[in-house]
């Protein structure tokens, strides 16, 4: 059972990771003068969009997700609306945090918000897919020893990696190298994306290594 679950997760992660690569390669064919640094926002939204779409598709197809109690349409719609609201809140939350970290308040607000959108896509959206719009579940997963399934653990790892990646991505900004990727917020978005990819790779590996120690209480 373990192996099957890990294998499933690994393939799901592989699909999500390949979507990031596709989102980087495809616009180069379609959009003129596309480059990761030059037309950064285009790249950013293409990655965010494709990750979002692939995430939702993969988890919907795999049938992972919160157990739904009711199957009525109105319940589903309210869940959808709540999810959207949560996503928006998380964007605003990340935006605020980034501004608190010292991003300019008014100038390049669009760039800052785009970073917030990307971070939300990499973290909150996955939470919404796996846990649903359920704050209690989120708090459970992100408190210590709160994971109840492999997916929870993978969520912890990828989310942590994305945030830490964005955090680390801020370090090169003060260096006086004058490289194109030091422009705000490129290094942070790159850091977040690389962190996310690392998390995608690391999660199955980590779970595989620690499968002896991992005991989930329920399930």
């Amino acid at each position: 059972m373990w192996d099957a679950e890990i294998r499933g997760m690994a393939s799901a992660h592989a699909i999500i990771a390949s979507s990031v690569f596709m989102a980087t390669v495809m616009p180069a064919v379609l959009v003129e003068k596309f480059s990761v640094y030059g037309t950064h926002l285009v790249w950013l939204y293409s990655v965010a969009g494709s990750v979002a779409v692939v995430n939702i598709a993969v988890y919907w197809l795999l049938g992972i997700g919160p157990p739904t109690k009711k199957n009525t349409l109105s319940y589903k719609v309210s869940r959808l609306i709540r999810s959207c609201l949560y996503f928006l809140f998380s964007c605003l939350f990340f935006h605020t945090v980034v501004v608190l970290y010292g991003a300019p308040l008014l100038e390049s607000a669009v760039e800052t918000f785009s970073l917030a959108v990307l971070l939300s896509t990499l973290t909150t959206l996955r939470c919404l897919c796996i846990l649903g719009p359920n704050v209690q579940a989120w708090i459970r997963v992100f408190s210590r020893d709160g994971a109840m399934s492999v997916w929870d653990t993978s969520l912890q790892i990828t989310t942590g990696c994305s945030v830490v990646g964005a955090w680390l991505g801020a370090f090169p900004i003060p260096l006086d190298w004058d490289r194109p990727w030091q422009v705000w917020p490129i290094s942070c978005t790159l850091g977040a994306t690389i962190g996310f990819l690392t998390g995608l790779v690391a999660a199955p590996v980590w779970i595989h290594w620690h499968r002896k120690q991992l005991t989930y209480k329920i399930k």
């Binding site: 608190l100 955090w167 801020a170 006086d176």
Partner: protein, 977 residues
């Protein structure tokens, strides 16, 4: 020998200070000087080279100019003359540059771009060492060979008007002088009028040879409002008028037959985009140099000015006036000045310059023979001799002319090579002293690290095996070894090391101390080793459960230390601290969330898993009963229900405060030019806002500080804060509500002294309480109150010294301290070590919040004059250091107050705190000393790394003082039964 942690920490810091002092002495060497104590004389001039044995003419070259007027405009940036603003405002000067007989250059100043070292460079032609910046406050007379001295000895009459730094540097050199102090930076008209008022009468007279004018107004404008201020234009117009006046008068006095006059326009340094100076950015080092004289060819139009070094002016002026070049000059003659003279004279001039440079090179480098320039000079001298032989024989052919030009070229190349070889020499370090100092501080750091388990144990006592170390054989062997190494180094190095020049007894005691330390270290390490290997399970099992916060604190400390290796991270260190502080707040926020939400959830869900911190709940209840006197519920009247929300809000409020403060003072290098709130508040049209803000900040400060004080102190504090406001009003920073517009700006001495009285009063009350608690140790509250009073005295002093726009920083500092202490540190049961690290981080961040940076230029020297009529060294230095390190000091003091008020902590908290503080300071200081040694040939060593080294040393000194205070507080606690 068993000592308590706090004593151990202060001892370590004191020894570290000694090591750092030795290191600094080696790192900042005395700049190269030729060993002759005499100065160059005309009679020392070498003969004109001439091959063959014909009678040699030792003709001294005749002067080129009669009178010289030097107009030095402080902080005159290159583009103020050659750029668009020069075109707009300095029309006459531009006309002369483009059409008149003049030469114009961009003269590159060297870092540090501060006035006094630049004056030294302009007059001596040497590049003064970095340590001159530190001496800038109190410049003693210049004893080195310099142009002014040479001119005076040659009987030239010199008149000087302007910055009184000159008067202090050259006492008794001027026939007539009027020094204006650059004390009131806010004054930019009076300083210049003081200079200009003498101009008319002086220009009419004929009894002088050299006139030096140093205008300070532009520099002051830069400091007030930056290079793009609307004040710059009128100032440049004024300067242009002055130049026009001088030039016209010089032209009118030009007579047939006599020598022409020379007018020199230069700047000592430029100004950065924020208007300050001191670093080595392009706008700071590029200054214009315009030489105007009828002796030069007329210009046909605008040419891009060539670049040269600022030090080139001194030898050029010296030879052009027929004076010897000063001994330590590393400058080269400006060829353009001499191009109108005969070829023979030109060769002679360059030969003299080369001779002086080669003498300096020979004197300062042991293997000068290997230098390219020296060899080139020898060759050029030889061909010069050949040329002279042909010349004396009456040869006047084209061949001779070409040959002469070739010799000239050879000279120029030789001069260039020698000058750069000499400039390179400036980074020569006294490696022996540096290494000894480094060994010292590394040993101390290792000692601190090895003692960590004991120092942070429940007893907070460190067992130093000094006795066993002193009685061991290796100790004596080491002493012998070190002594022999010392003798060996000192005899071979020729006594150029500082450490060798120390008295023998001192060196020997240092050797004994170092060997004892080494033996102690070995003993401690061997003692530590078996215990570590015996119980690996225990250490890895339970002790290594680091929380996220611990990991962050560890990573932050290590990461910050590593980041000091990159010059950008040193320049932008504030970013590192702000970043770490933000992350810390978020981590704390997460901890708070966990604490409160976990409890709620376990209530909701029943017991699906045990609480996060099982021991905490019980402890908390017991402690809240114990510390009911100090609990926030009692103090602020907060109900238990809202306490949770306040605790949740605290990290967020802290974050918001930090974000606000961050935009108050833009500091660093890369983003220093961005507009910040501080500049906005300080501009004249926002005076009302600044006044209101100051009032609010002062009221907030009062509310936050008075809580724990006695009634007398409360009243004194209130009056003191009123005094602070009236001082700011008197100085003209803020408005008095009942102030008439015509009120003159004064120095506010009376008001400041009024505040000083209250500061001393509060400090005295606090000290009295502390002593009483020491003698009759019955009430812990007395001591805690005494500590708090000392703290509030410091707050009052800081309020007086901080600029008006920085008062919100102080208020925020107090606010954050209060809420963090009430809702976070107490409630979440962080241990003393964690609390100390957090305090240290906050202290570092506030150091930068208040507008400091790792650049000397941001030190606010004007603080040293608050309440003083004139410059008095000791209080000025104390006040400047105090206000610069106000942030770290206030946080460290708050740490003392907090840790000693936490009575349930037991008596060890203070010991742990001081140990952590010492360790936190030692790690970056030692690592930085090693880094700087490794990077000593880095391009930015003078402009970036050296100032930071001074800051590190000063910070260690301040921390040592705090640790001694800790020890004192800890001592009287431990002396009680």
């Amino acid at each position: 020998m068993r000592v308590s942690s706090s004593v151990f920490a202060s001892l370590c810091l004191v020894f570290e200070i000694c090591g750092i002092a030795l290191f600094l002495r080696g790192f900042f060497p005395v700049p190269i000087k030729s060993s002759f104590s005499t100065k160059n004389r005309l009679s020392d001039f070498p003969a004109e080279p001439l091959t063959g044995s014909a009678p040699n003419s030792t003709k001294i070259p005749s002067p080129l100019f009669k009178k010289v007027v030097i107009v030095l405009i402080d902080a005159l940036r290159e583009d103020f003359v050659f750029g668009p603003s020069g075109n707009r405002f300095m029309t006459y000067t531009r006309h002369v540059i483009e059409r008149g007989s003049s030469h114009s250059f961009v003269a590159k100043a060297r870092a540090p771009t501060v006035t006094m070292p630049r004056i030294k460079a302009l007059t001596t032609g040497s590049i003064p060492g970095f340590i001159d910046v530190v001496m800038n406050l109190n410049s003693p007379a210049l004893l080195e060979d310099n142009f002014i001295w040479q001119a005076k000895t040659a009987g030239k009459k010199i008149i000087f008007y302007g910055d009184d730094t000159w008067v202090r540097l050259f006492p008794k050199h001027f026939m007539e002088f009027d020094g204006t102090t650059s004390f009131f930076v806010s004054d930019y008209t009076e300083v210049d009028n003081n200079v200009t008022r003498h101009l008319d009468s002086t220009l009419k007279r004929d009894d002088w040879d050299i006139l030096i004018l140093h205008y300070l107004g532009l520099d002051h404008i830069g400091h007030i409002s930056g290079p793009h201020s609307s004040l710059v234009g009128p100032k440049l117009l004024e300067m242009d008028d002055i130049l026009k006046k001088i030039h016209a008068s010089l032209i009118a006095r030009e007579t047939e037959g006599s020598l022409p006059n020379l007018l020199v326009l230069c700047g000592d340094h430029g100004m950065s985009e924020t208007g300050s100076h001191g670093g080595s950015s392009e706008p700071e080092i590029n200054t214009p140099l315009v030489l105007i004289s009828p002796a030069f060819k007329r210009k046909a139009g605008w040419e891009k000015p060539g670049t040269l070094e600022q030090v080139d002016l001194a030898p050029t002026l010296a030879l052009a006036l027929g004076l010897p070049i000063s001994q330590n000059s590393v400058g080269r003659l400006i060829p353009a000045v001499f191009e109108e003279t005969s070829l023979r004279d030109q060769l002679r001039y360059f030969h003299l310059n080369g001779f002086q440079l080669s003498a300096l090179l020979r004197d300062s480098t042991p293997d000068y023979h290997k230098e390219d320039g020296y060899e080139q000079f020898r060759v050029a001298e030889k061909s010069h001799g050949n040329w002279m032989k042909l010349y004396m024989e009456g040869n006047t052919s084209e061949v001779l002319l070409n040959m002469g030009k070739k010799v000239l070229k050879q000279y120029l190349e030789a001069l260039k090579a020698m000058s750069s070889a000499l400039s390179r020499q400036l980074g020569k370090y006294d490696m022996y002293s540096m290494i000894v100092g480094m060994i010292f501080i590394i040993q101390v750091l290792l000692l601190l690290l090895l003692a960590m388990p004991e120092a942070l144990s429940g007893q907070a006592r460190v067992d130093l095996p000094v006795a066993s170390a002193l009685l061991s054989l290796p100790f004596y062997l080491l002493c012998l070894l070190f002594s022999s190494v010392h003798v060996l180094v000192c005899t071979s190095a020729g006594g150029s090391c500082y450490f060798c020049s120390l008295p023998w007894a001192l060196v020997f005691s240092a050797i004994v101390f170092s060997s004892a330390l080494l033996c102690t270290l070995v003993v401690m390490a061997t003692r530590r080793l078996p215990t570590a290997s015996k119980s690996p399970v225990k250490t890895s099992g339970s002790d290594w459960a680091l929380s996220e916060l611990d990991a962050l604190l560890l990573i932050g400390t290590v990461g910050h230390t590593l980041s000091l290796g990159a010059s950008s991270f040193v320049e932008e260190e504030h970013q590192t601290w702000y970043f770490l502080l933000n992350t810390l707040c978020l981590a704390v926020f997460q901890d708070v969330c966990r604490k409160y939400f976990r409890e709620k959830r376990s209530g909701n869900y029943g017991a699906d898993d045990s609480p996060l911190l099982p021991s905490n709940k019980g402890k908390e209840e017991s402690s809240s009963q114990e510390t009911s006197l100090f609990s926030p519920v009692a103090e602020l009247g907060v109900s238990a229900g809202s306490e949770k929300w306040l605790a949740l809000a605290t990290p967020l409020l802290t974050l918001a405060c930090c974000r606000l403060l961050r935009s108050l003072n833009q500091t660093g290098v890369q983003w220093a030019h961005l507009p910040d709130l501080g500049h906005w508040l300080n501009s004249a049209e926002h005076k009302v806002v600044l006044s209101l803000l100051s009032v609010v900040a002062l009221i907030l400060i009062f509310i936050l500080v008075q809580r724990h004080c006695s009634l007398v102190s409360k009243i004194a504090l209130a009056l003191g804060l009123l005094g602070v406001y009236s001082y700011r009003a008197a100085v003209g920073n803020v408005l008095f509500p009942w102030q008439h517009s015509g009120r003159a700006v004064s120095k506010g001495t009376v008001e400041a002294r009024f505040v000083y009285i209250f500061v001393l009063g509060i400090l005295f009350t606090g000290a009295k309480d502390l002593l009483r608690s020491l003698v009759a140790s019955t009430d812990g509250r007395l001591k805690s109150r005494g500590l708090w009073e000392v703290y509030s005295g410091m707050v009052l002093l800081v309020a007086l010294l901080f600029r008006a726009h920085n008062l919100p920083t102080l208020a925020c500092c107090l606010f954050v301290q209060t809420i963090m202490a009430q809702f976070i540190w107490k409630k979440l049961h962080y241990d003393a070590a964690q609390t100390t690290i957090m305090h240290y981080w906050f202290g570092q961040a506030f150091f930068f919040f208040q507008g400091n940076s790792n650049n000397i230029a941001t030190v606010d020297i004007s603080v040293g004059f608050v309440g003083l009529e004139s410059y008095v060294e000791a209080p000025a230095i104390f006040l400047t250091a105090f206000s610069t390190y106000a942030g770290p000091l206030l946080w460290a003091c708050h740490l003392v107050c907090y840790l000693s008020s936490e009575r349930d902590r037991g008596t060890v908290a203070l010991g742990h705190g001081s140990y952590c503080l010492a360790l936190l300071r030692s790690v970056p200081a030692v690592a930085y000393a090693v880094l700087v040694t490794a990077l000593r040939y880095h391009l930015f060593i003078w402009s970036v790394f050296s100032p930071k080294l001074l800051y590190e040393a000063m910070h260690t000194l301040v921390t040592a003082a705090v640790c001694l205070f800790f020890t004192f507080m800890d001592h009287d606690r431990s002396s009680r039964p």
